[in-house]
Amino acid sequence: MAVKLRKFLRDKRAITPVLSNLLLTVVAVAAMALATTATYVITTNLRENMSERVIVEDLWFNNSTGNINVYLRNIGKVAIHVSAAYINHTSQPFNSPFNLEIGAHGWLNISYSWASGSLYYVDIVTNRGTHVGGYYKAP
C-alpha cells in the first residue's frame, strides 16, 4: 500500500486523468438532469394540451341583463382557465378569473350588448389555447 502511494505521489501525470474523469461525470450527470427536466416539462405541457376538453352546455342571450351567459363544463382531465372570450372575433370582458376544476361547471358571463335576430360567433379560449364555441343566433 505504501509502495503504491509513493508511486502515485512520484507520478506527476496521475492527477490529470482523475480530474478529467470527475469532470466528465459531473458534465454527464448535469446533462442528463437537464434532459430529464426538459422531458418532464415538455411532456407535461403536451399532456395538458391534449387533456383539455370543455363543452358549452348552454348559451343564453339574457334579456334581463342584456349580456351573453355561457354555461361551461370541464369534461377533460385537467383544470382549465378561461383566458379570453371573443364575440365575432373581438375580445369581450367577462367574469374573470374563470377557472373550472375537473368535472366542474359554471356560468361565464360575457358583457356584450347583443341584438335580437343577429348571428354571433362566440369563441371561448383557454390559456392553453383550446377553443370552444360556435355560431349562435340571438332570439
Binding site: A35, L46, E57, D58, Y71, I75, K77, P139
Partner: protein, 622 residues
C-alpha cells in the same frame, strides 16, 4: 460478430461510455414517447366514447303524483294478531295479501278491564323521563260495581313500550273515593306540547296480591325514615353531607334536627346529586322546641351551591316566631316574609316550590296534617334582591340555635308550569276485539323534495269479514305525538262492503305535521272500537304517495355505451334553468326521471340533457 464487438470494446476505452450514453438516451426517448402515446390513447378513447354516445329525450310530461311507497318493514300489530302473509304482499294490487285478525293486546289476562291513560305535555319543551304524573279515577264506583278491590290491590298501572308491557310502581291516594289519585313515573320522554297514550290502568282481579308501590319509583325522591334509630344520619350515603352546625339523626322513624350555631345549617340529600330541573318538595314537619328570634329557622331548601359556602340556596322556612313563614336566599337576601300561625308539637305539611331559579321567585305553603291542602300558596313571592341562583343540591334547613325539629315523609318530584295533564280513555274489557296495526312509509325525497310536495295520499285495498264495523286511517302527528286524522280530507272512516274495497285519504296541506325530517310517514289502520265480532281483514295493498306538480322525463340510450346524465336544462324565452341530475342509463335502456321541483307550463320550452362525456340531447315543445 459478438466476439468482434467485445474485442473492440475491450480495445476501445471509450466504448462502454458510448454504449451507456446511447442506452440512456434511448430509455429517455422511449419514456417520452410512451407517456405521450399512452395519454393520447386515453384522450382518443374519451373522444371515441363521446362520438358513440347517443342519448335521446323521448318524452316530457306533467305528473301529479309519485309512485306508491310501500312499508319498509313488517307492520307493528298493537292490537290483534297477524294470521298470514307478509308486508311484501301489500306492496302491489294483486292476489297476494296479508291477513290480520282482531284481538286484544292485553297485559295480564287475570285483569278484566283497563282504561287508557293519555299524558299531555303542556309546556313547549320536552318532558323528561321520570316525571311523576297523577291521574284521577273514580274508584268508589268501580268498587261498588265489584270491578275493583276496595284496598286497590288490583289497581295497576302498566306501560306499553311498543314491544313489552312494563308494570309500574304507583301510589294510590284516597282509594275507594270518587277522586282517587294514582301517581306514577313516566317511562319515556314526551315532545314539547305532545302526548303519550301508552299507559293503562288495569283492574278487576279478585285475587290480586300486593301491587308494586315503592314510592322511590314513583317520585324523584321519597323517604319516610322508617328505619332503626341512628344518631348521625350523615353516615348514610344518601345524606352524607351536612353544612354548618347542628345534629341530624333518625329517631322513632323520623328525621330529627337539633340546631346549633352555623350558617347555612343544611342536610343535603346527596343521593340526588345536583337536580337540574324545577322541583316540588313536600315534607311533614313538627317543631318541638323553639327559642324564637332570627336564629330560629327550619324548613326546606333547594338550588344549593357552594357560594359563599356549600349548602347556600333558596329556602322556605319557619322563622323568627310561630306566626311567620318566609323565603330566604341564603347569605344573600331575605325574600317575601309571610304570615302563618303554627304551633309547637303539631305536625304540618310544608310544600316548597321554585320554578326557574333565575327568576328568584318561590312559593311555600303549610297546612296541618289531617286537613285538606289549601289551593292557595301561603307565600307566593320572591327571594329578595340577592343574586339569583341556579339549579343545585336539595335538602333540609336546620335551626341556627338549639331548636328541635322533626321531619318525615320527604317527597320530591319534577315540576313544570303548567304541569302535564292526564285523561282516561273509555273502559275496555278483556274480551273486546280490536285491531290496530301501523306501518312505516318512506317517501323518496331525492325525487320528490319536501318543499315541492302538495300533500300526501294514503290508500289501502282491503277486505273485511265484518261489514258492520268502520275502519280508520290515521297518521302519527309529530306535533301531538300520537296517531290522529286531524286535517285529513276525510275523518269519517270507511265501512267496508263484502268484497275488496279501496279506502283512501289525503293529508291536505297538513301533511307537514305528519312527515318526519327524513320524510317518514307512520300510518295506522284501526277499527272503530270494541265489539263482539272477531273481524279478519285481508290487506292487498297499503301505501302512500305524494301529490306534486312535477314533470316526468323519459330518456333512451340508443348508443353502445352506458351514459351518465349530469345536467338537465329547461329553457324558455325568459329563463334558462339548470338542474343537477345523476342518472345512469345502460345501452338500449329507457329511463323515466321524475322531478317534483320542475313544473312545465304550456308556453314553449326546450328541455336539454347533458352527459358526463359532454354530449347533449334536446327536446323542444313548440
Amino acid at each position: 460478430m459478438l466476439e468482434a464487438i467485445i474485442k473492440r470494446l475491450k480495445h476501445d476505452k471509450h466504448g462502454v461510455s458510448n454504449v451507456i450514453v446511447v442506452m440512456l438516451s434511448l430509455v429517455l426517448i422511449v419514456v417520452i414517447v410512451a407517456n405521450v402515446v399512452l395519454w393520447s390513447y386515453q384522450m382518443n378513447q374519451l373522444d371515441w366514447e363521446k362520438m358513440h354516445e347517443n342519448v335521446e329525450i323521448t318524452d316530457v310530461a306533467n305528473v301529479t303524483s309519485s309512485s306508491w311507497f310501500g312499508v319498509q318493514r313488517e307492520y307493528m300489530v298493537n292490537m290483534g294478531s297477524r294470521i298470514n302473509g307478509t308486508c311484501i304482499d301489500t306492496h302491489a294490487i294483486d292476489d297476494q295479501y296479508e291477513s290480520f285478525r282482531e284481538g286484544s293486546n292485553w297485559w295480564n289476562t287475570n285483569y278484566g278491564f283497563r282504561r287508557q291513560i293519555t299524558i299531555v305535555n303542556n309546556v313547549a319543551s320536552m318532558l323528561d323521563v321520570g316525571y311523576s304524573v297523577c291521574v284521577t279515577i273514580n274508584t268508589a264506583s268501580l268498587v261498588s260495581a265489584s270491578k275493583m278491590l276496595s284496598d286497590g290491590n288490583d289497581l295497576r298501572v302498566v306501560y306499553w313500550s311498543g314491544s313489552n308491557w312494563i308494570e309500574l310502581d304507583r301510589e294510590v291516594i284516597d282509594m275507594n273515593s270518587t277522586s282517587t289519585q294514582v301517581w306514577f313515573k313516566t317511562q319515556a320522554t314526551i315532545e314539547a306540547n305532545g302526548s303519550d297514550s301508552n299507559y293503562y290502568i288495569y283492574y278487576r282481579n279478585p285475587s290480586a296480591g300486593s301491587p308494586p308501590a315503592n314510592k322511590i319509583n314513583v317520585y324523584l325522591w321519597y323517604d319516610d325514615f322508617d328505619r332503626a334509630d341512628k344518631p348521625d344520619i350523615t353516615t348514610e350515603a344518601s345524606y352524607s353531607v351536612k353544612t354548618g352546625g347542628g345534629a341530624w339523626s333518625i329517631e322513632t322513624n323520623k328525621l330529627k334536627n337539633v340546631g346549633a350555631a352555623g350558617d347555612p345549617n343544611k342536610l343535603v340529600i346527596t343521593g340526588l346529586g345536583n337536580v337540574n330541573a324545577d322541583i316540588d318538595m313536600l315534607v311533614k314537619i313538627e317543631v318541638t322546641s323553639f327559642a324564637g328570634g332570627d336564629l330560629s329557622r327550619m324548613g326546606l331548601s333547594c338550588c344549593m351551591d357552594t357560594n359563599p359556602s356549600r349548602g347556600s340556596g333558596y329556602c322556605g322556612l319557619f322563622h323568627q316566631d310561630t306566626s311567620s313563614l318566609d323565603l330566604l336566599n341564603d347569605l344573600r337576601s331575605w325574600g317575601t316574609q309571610g304570615t302563618y300561625g303554627w304551633s309547637l308539637n303539631t305536625w304540618y305539611y310544608m310544600r316548597f316550590r321554585v320554578i326557574d331559579p333565575a327568576s328568584r321567585l318561590g312559593k311555600v305553603k303549610v297546612w296541618q296534617v289531617g286537613t285538606t291542602e289549601p289551593n292557595a300558596w301561603t307565600v307566593d313571592g320572591n327571594f329578595g334582591g340577592g343574586t339569583a341562583r341556579t339549579y343545585g343540591e336539595v335538602g333540609f334547613l336546620g335551626s341556627r340555635t338549639t331548636d328541635t325539629t322533626y321531619f318525615d315523609e320527604i317527597l320530591i318530584r319534577y315540576m313544570t308550569d303548567p304541569e302535564p295533564s292526564t285523561s282516561l280513555g273509555a273502559e275496555e274489557s278483556q274480551g273486546d276485539n280490536r285491531l290496530d296495526i301501523d306501518g312505516t312509509f318512506v317517501i323518496d325525497t331525492s325525487t320528490y323534495p319536501l318543499s315541492y310536495l302538495q300533500t300526501v295520499e294514503i290508500q289501502i285495498r282491503f277486505r273485511s269479514s265484518d261489514t258492520g264495523e268502520k275502519w280508520y286511517l290515521k297518521a302519527y302527528n309529530r306535533m301531538s305525538s300520537t296517531y290522529i286524522d286531524s286535517g285529513f280530507n276525510s275523518t269519517t272512516g270507511y265501512t267496508p262492503t263484502t268484497g275488496w274495497d279501496y279506502y283512501a285519504v289525503n293529508l291536505t296541506d297538513q301533511w307537514n305535521s305528519y312527515a318526519y325530517g327524513n320524510s317518514t310517514v307512520y300510518v295506522k289502520i284501526v277499527d272503530e272500537g270494541v265489539d263482539g265480532n272477531q273481524t279478519t281483514i285481508d290487506i292487498d295493498f297499503f301505501a302512500v304517495r305524494v301529490v306534486i306538480n312535477g314533470t316526468k322525463f323519459t330518456f333512451q340510450n340508443k348508443g353502445s355505451l352506458t351514459s351518465h346524465l349530469v345536467s338537465l336544462w329547461v329553457t324558455n324565452s325568459t329563463n334558462h334553468q339548470r338542474y343537477d341530475m345523476n342518472i345512469f342509463i345502460n345501452s338500449g335502456d329507457s329511463v323515466s326521471y321524475i322531478r317534483g321541483d320542475i313544473s312545465l307550463q304550456n308556453t314553449p320550452y326546450m328541455v336539454k340533457v347533458v352527459t358526463e362525456r359532454g354530449n347533449t340531447a334536446v327536446l323542444t315543445n313548440p
